[in-house]
Subunit: 111 residues, 2 copies
DNA sequence: TTGACATATTCCTATATGGATATATATTGA
DNA sequence: TCAATATATATCCATATAGGAATATGTCAA
């Protein structure tokens, strides 16, 4: 088997850095494809393909306005990622605490 | 260009569902490869290969104990994912709020 | 040293990519 | 209808998988 399709879920879709760039750019406001092309350093067909992937997994929504297509983020599609990583939050907080403790112990030694 | 390597960063590494399964399994405690193989429905070589990817991006750490290799999660490597998704949290909270408002408005209409 | 156990690596293959290029489709205005 | 603009799709190609099978490496016990 090969790797799962980029359109199989949000995890695969956002693995591509350019698509995260696009989502970052759309975070502030709805944008046309042309605006996205101008902002990213990508060819128009590449942007359209990335937008298709993002749309397929529900990460963006599109509407036509005249000749333009306006895309905006559908942030709720990112919640599964946020929630999955949250389950590990407790662990890294523990870990950072231990690092802090070790640093403090060393400082104490030197006194 | 093809897709970025699975070892290029944590985003790519966790795009594979089996690797998320492994991380979930390791979240509670350190485990040997054999235990992981038993818990997942995967062949031993596949597990070893997934573990290598996770290790390459710093998501797990390994230590030898006799014949066994014990793997544990390094949760801090997941913080970039958590923080990136957090930047969109405000957006989906807005969105959910609007949904709630619409639902309430409908209820109001029916009175 | 040898055999058994635990894990890692190599080789193979089907498959899906991302960028580039060319072309198709959709919309508007004249 | 026709030209111009905006976006989408098709095609080509180099590349990196993930799983399966076979094999190599590492460790221990006798």
């Amino acid at each position: 088997m090969a790797r799962a399709a980029t359109t199989s879920d949000a995890f695969n879709a956002v693995a591509e850095p350019r698509r995260r760039d696009i989502l970052n750019y759309l975070a502030t406001q709805e944008r046309s494809v042309g605006e996205i092309v101008a902002a990213m350093h990508l060819e128009q067909p590449s942007v359209s393909k990335h937008l298709k992937v993002l749309k397929d997994v529900g990460l963006v929504e599109a509407r036509r306005e005249g000749r333009q297509m306006l895309y905006k983020v559908n942030a709720t599609a990112l919640r599964p990622l946020h929630e999955w990583t949250s389950t590990f939050e407790r662990l890294w907080k523990h870990q950072l605490l231990r690092i802090t403790e070790r640093a403090e112990a060393k400082t104490e030694e030197k006194k």
